[in-house]
Symmetry: C3
Subunit: 346 residues, 3 copies
């Protein structure tokens, strides 16, 4: 998977930082401090990994200013080792090149627009009016519905479904099993049954968005579902119809967002958090994992509601006490009354 080795000096020339030690050390791979061996570049973000740094067999390390003297290994000293590591990792592990061409078993409508630089995998189906950008790679067994569009430089892994008329921006990465543009969950109750409300709007996705495996984003009923530039979505996320997710917001796995909710830019939503419908969440809000957001949030900050696990007996006792809170509250009032009486009588 990895390319020719790069010299430490090449990395510093490209990404900056201060080089201490032999500039000729060849780097083939990025690895953790624990698993690194010869040819590997590792990194340490915090002083708390100092013992692993002392024991590592890496060929070189990326360290923050605070750790510049914590090792004798060849090292790059920089402000943000994690970002530096990400850049080197990207350089050493470029995405596989797109091999242009349409697989023999793909079914591409003559009315679809597939540029010669694009790749369409075996068994994929591209309907009429759909458009792929330059250098876009569609994996095996994908479905791209009528009039949908995918921006240039995008990569769809296997078994991705894009419903008709949805649009993805440039450099999208969509993982296997993701479904973009299924009908939102909209029904009117009529005489004890549910009457389906046609979901006539689209999903519109900006540039540089990554969408995880088996994540689903529903199309809008009347107004589009909108995912802004730079949003990162993990696996198994469900985004309801008519939601709007602001730029560079990151959402961890298993999160559910009910319909018509707007989430600001630069938010971070923890795993399995759930956000009710029709809310407005401000920019730069952090929602903890498993937290339930049932009201709009106007101010940046961290919001929580999850209770950490404890041993069974203690937890059962806590639940019982929670059920008895009303009685506890009544008892306190009664104590206050009796005490006041005693105090008066003193």
């Amino acid at each position: 998977m990895t390319r020719d080795p790069v010299r430490l000096a090449d990395l510093v020339a490209r990404f900056g930082g201060e080089l201490l030690g032999d500039p000729e050390v060849p780097i083939r791979r990025i690895a953790t401090l624990r698993s690194a061996g010869s040819g590997d570049l590792s990194f340490v973000a915090h002083g708390r990994y100092r013992s692993e740094l002392a024991a590592t067999r890496a060929a070189a390390v990326i360290v923050p200013e605070s750790e510049r003297d914590a090792t004798a290994l060849p090292r790059i000293v920089c402000r943000d080792p994690y970002a530096y590591f990400a850049r080197v990792a990207a350089l050493l592990n470029p995405p596989p090149p797109v091999v242009p061409g349409i697989a023999a078993t793909a079914v591409v409508s003559p009315a679809a627009d597939v540029p010669p630089s694009a790749s369409v995998g075996p068994g994929s189906v591209i309907e009429g009016g759909a458009r792929l950008g330059a250098d876009t790679a569609v994996g095996a067994g994908c479905f791209i519905g009528a009039d949908a569009s995918i921006g240039p430089g995008s990569r769809l892994h296997a078994h991705v479904t894009i419903y008709p008329r949805c649009a993805l921006g440039a450099r999208a990465i969509v993982h296997a099993g993701a479904v973009i543009g299924a009908d939102g969950f909209g029904f009117a109750p009529v005489d004890g049954a549910w009457l389906k409300i046609p979901q006539t709007a689209r999903v519109l996705i900006g540039d540089d968005v990554e969408i995880g495996a088996n994540t689903t984003i529903d199309r809008g009923a009347l107004d589009d579902t909108v995912i802004a530039d730079g949003v990162k979505l993990d696996n198994q996320i469900q985004i309801g119809h008519g939601c709007r997710i602001g730029a560079h917001t990151a959402i961890a796995g298993c999160v559910g967002i009910a319909g018509s909710t707007t989430i600001g830019a630069h938010c971070m939503i923890g795993g399995a958090a759930m956000i009710s419908g029709h809310l407005e969440i401000a920019d730069r809000v952090v929602v903890g994992g498993g937290t339930w957001v049932t009201k709009s949030i106007a101010a940046p900050g961290t919001y929580l509601s999850v209770i950490p696990a404890t041993g069974e007996r203690e937890w059962r006792r806590t639940v019982a006490l929670l059920r008895g809170l009303e009685r506890m509250s009544d008892k306190i009032r009664e104590l206050e009354r009796r005490l006041a009486e005693l105090e008066r009588g003193r």
Copy 2:
């Protein structure tokens, strides 16, 4: 997507209601009050949207009796504007017609029963003994296992999996990535390992059921999993083996229902609610989003257990107090004892 325009008078002739204003207004589209423009019909369900109603640029609106004079626009006054809107939206946005025929790349067993009015998309696989109803559309890349059946007028979107012997009723809508009939999660512990219990029963689904994207419904071990008529399931729902869901129950996204649970008719289960196994839930029960149902529910009503998010500091304090409830309870008892002693001594 939309058809020829309809006149306001045509709508009233078809769906009832009282028409105020020009009956000739042509309607091309349904839209929200905010986004509507010329040719658009909008609706207002509650007085609380009165300011949006005043500002809308819709060509006409559907209003409840209470808002009959709240606008000068051409309008339809009716009892249930949301249901009226649903009906008009369905009229203006009919599902795409089914184009009969089997795609060249579909693999249909000669022992399958596919009527001439049905459509089978590219790459779909239909095994022997499977039966499709009239006018049924199977999207691209679906799999319909041996002896499975799909009722007439159904629509399977792309990448739907129906395991062998499962049955769907008439007018089913199944979204991409849904999996019907995978094995239930059944294992017997034997000598520290898990022995698989064959899941030999089926999934049986009634008429007019909609199933969301990436939703999974497991086949029964010994008794069938049964989904009654009119049930609506959102995305990413998991229904365990041997469950029974009553007619016209609606279940929002990310809900999990463990095995052998029976849910009544006309229930509403909020998003990400979880229901334990082997329970009985009565008809007309409403379970709030994120709520954990761990015991059977015998009476209709609304059931909850979710705690709304708050700011980080307040929440951490609440969790600490929750952990300290036992001590609080002890202190109250101690106070009661000391107070009683004082009272006796008075």
Copy 3:
């Protein structure tokens, strides 16, 4: 689905136990006490099903020692009726035989290693360097990426995705829509945007692992994600990058496990439980359904944090009291102060 009938005597000869009654009774099927009829073998694990045992129309039953005289039906008395039932069910319901061969519409790289005993379903794609074990069945529409491997005797149902370089052991069962090896969710924050960290490691899965429908297991960033022998995963589970799951651990549906967490052997994780990242969970830990594990667990035992549902009014009162805990705590302190003063004054 079922084979020729087996005599009760054959079962006892094969699986042990004590036979009471006619040894010639032919068994065709396993069924529950309630649904069993002639030719059916049923089982009872606990005395609490005694009334169903009295009413069953089964041809024979498997009972524990405690119920040996609770019925006059032909019966097998054994130590663990549930395990016995599992064994008989497996005997009567063998998996469908693998029909060797590659479907005409499958796309198998000449550089893939597919043994003659393996089966590859219609539309499946197997890339170069991928290897299938003997007697392995790949269902319709699967994708097996470059250099991935599947052990002998495995079965992949329809629409399974195995990303490049991932490895499954022998006798794997993978249900429809499962995705093994998508990129972990790893990004470094750089100047207000997210820089993708290449996910260069693999998913390595042991022998006898079952993976449910639409479950996702991410590949590691630098260290592999590892699933040990005998692990059983239900549907819609998300396992983050770099996790390690110990042997014979069973995980119920909708569970999420964040990255780099290690779970021990013989654990049981209840449905929709969530486990934070970078934790260590000991062997033989039981995590209740819906529980949030936010810290490492060093000792075996059962851990919980979920609050059961109650009626809406009671729950709203409980939440209000929870919000008021701080005030309650303050009041208790105040009462203690005043009481101490009174006591001093006595």
